[in-house]
């Protein structure tokens, strides 16, 4: 039964996902799972298919083939149930700049049918240090503050699946570290699954339990970010990233 405890070991189950745009294959047979409490890094060079994959999981892009299940709910036949368990934050999807933080969070609280919205919004505003700006329009906030607002929105419905597309890209190192700690806590306390994309390999190594390297729409490598470099004769995760970007065939064969 969808949503039952037995099969909820996997929060997200993606099978043979494929998406083409004309002659270009953006995602080519991608399959992976995310378990409860697990943070999975989706890595790869620009154009590898990360955002396309995330958009398909968010239900805003229809794959040509393949299935996506969120806690057992098929995204295409049970969209409402699947999306009610999901949320996301991405640097390219800021909340409307003509509304205040409070207004935006109230609206998204309604869209996700959050219980006791004022209390939840108040808690998130405190958690992300947004109190001084809560009545300011999002468009006048700094990019770091906007990122925190997006993250607060992403936590509104206590998502079981959280998709974060470069969540710390516009944050200073101190704030980025703070945010990473909070997201890590969120994953541990709520036993939610998180799919995280980032180009900061030190961050990925610190935060992720498992990483998937995408290249040309395919998963080329998968493993523990702490042990993966040694397994492939590299010193750091960044070296693997560069190798994936420049010589994907040599890595795929190793």
């Amino acid at each position: 039964m969808p949503g039952s405890i037995d099969i909820m070991h996997n929060i997200l189950s993606v099978k043979t996902l494929r998406k083409t745009y004309g002659d270009l294959t953006a995602v080519d047979g991608v399959s992976f799972d995310i378990k409860r409490g697990e943070i999975v890094g989706l890595l790869g060079p620009n154009g590898a298919g990360k955002t396309t994959t995330i958009n398909m999981i968010l239900g805003v892009l229809k794959p040509d083939t393949g299935t996506i299940e969120i806690e057992g709910f098929n995204l295409f036949s049970r969209r409402c149930e699947a999306m009610a368990r999901t949320n996301f934050a991405a640097v390219y999807a800021p909340l409307p700049g003509n509304l205040t933080i409070l207004e935006n969070l109230n609206i998204f609280g309604l869209l996700y049918e959050v219980d006791n919205i004022p209390e939840k919004v108040d808690k998130l505003i405190r958690q992300f240090d947004l109190g001084p700006f809560k009545n300011k329009k999002c468009g006048v906030l700094s990019s770091g503050e906007q990122t925190r607002v997006s993250l607060a929105k992403a936590m509104l419905n206590n998502p079981h699946l959280l998709l974060l597309d470069e969540p710390t890209a516009s944050l200073d190192p101190a704030t980025a570290r703070e945010i990473r700690v909070r997201i890590r806590e969120f994953a541990t306390q709520s036993t939610s699954g998180i799919l995280w994309t980032s180009h900061n390999m030190y961050e990925v190594e610190e935060v992720c339990d498992r990483v998937l390297f995408l290249s040309h729409g395919k998963i080329l490598l998968e493993g523990n970010p702490k042990t993966l470099p040694a397994e492939h004769g590299k010193k750091t995760l960044e070296e693997i990233f560069i190798a994936v970007a420049r010589e994907p065939l040599t890595l795929g064969a190793s």
Partner: protein
């Protein structure tokens, strides 16, 4: 169907209006000007014509109803454009919100914003130009409903066009009422038009509304057939425009347009 999610779309519009004079002003300003302009014109026509014919209900009343229709249509498209302008599609369409709830939210936003404009129009027309909507009798209500439904249908259709062709295609939408008005016989009987224009007017619900209201003012009684035809066409257009919106939305999901809307086209 979730009332909360539908209400979220309406609430967004209310927040925007509350915080922006530039959104409040157009709700009543231009239609207020329209009422004053047509009000004086009808007064002038009444003064220079020797007959006892009263132009106020025929011309000013017609303009009021036509502006009502435009407000309803633009109420839907304006609420939709807010998501276009703030590039908000990725955020809202990745929530559990369904298309039915979204479109209903746009309709509720339109009703709410149109109330302001209609109230201002009725006040000006009644106080300054002695227009009484009672002259149309009880039939004003079903005829208003027909205009309302057709306004909603065109609003949904216009929103679907912008979703398909991108933010720059807004200019397709604004002139739609002006393009329809010559065929709809707002200010003159449809019989005035040449045959090919009359043929087109048969497919427009407002032409039945204005023909019906003119008949009432002229003392020719109520033509129920006008109401039935106008009503059936308006309901048909609502269904067609909704199906069109769904089709465009599905196309946008396949092409990735929802996720990358600012790109306008992915071709």
């Amino acid at each position: 169907m979730s009332f909360k999610r539908t209400f979220a779309i309406l609430l967004r519009q209310l927040y925007l209006i509350r915080g922006s004079f530039s959104r409040v002003f157009p709700l009543f300003a231009w239609i207020g000007v329209d009422m004053i302009l047509w009000g004086f014109l009808t007064k002038y026509l009444n003064a220079i014509t020797s007959t006892a014919f009263n132009f106020v209900p025929v011309l000013l009343g017609a303009v009021l109803l036509w502006d009502f229709f435009i407000r309803i249509m633009q109420g839907v498209t304006m609420a939709f454009f807010e998501d276009v302008w703030s590039r908000n599609f990725l955020n809202i369409f990745s929530t559990p919100l369904t298309i039915r709830e979204y479109v209903l939210g746009l309709v509720l936003s339109s009703i709410t914003t149109s109330i302001v404009g209609v109230a201002v129009m009725v006040l000006i027309a009644t106080i300054f130009f002695k227009l009484s909507l009672l002259v149309y009798g009880i039939m004003i209500i079903p005829f208003l409903i027909v205009l309302f439904l057709f306004g909603i249908a065109l609003g949904i259709f216009g929103s679907a066009l912008v979703l398909r062709f991108g933010p720059a295609s807004e200019w397709f939408i604004w002139p739609i009422p002006a393009l329809i008005s010559p065929f709809a016989g707002v200010l003159y009987p449809v019989a005035t038009l040449p045959g090919w224009m009359q043929f087109i007017s048969h497919f427009l619900p407002p032409s039945y509304v204005f023909e019906g209201l003119r008949a009432i003012v002229a003392g020719k009684g109520v033509h129920i057939s006008y109401l039935v035809w106008g009503g059936c066409l308006a309901v048909g257009y609502i269904l067609l425009s909704y199906m069109f919106f769904i089709g465009i939305y599905r196309h946008a999901l396949s092409t990735g347009l929802i996720a990358r809307y600012s790109a306008e086209t992915l071709a």
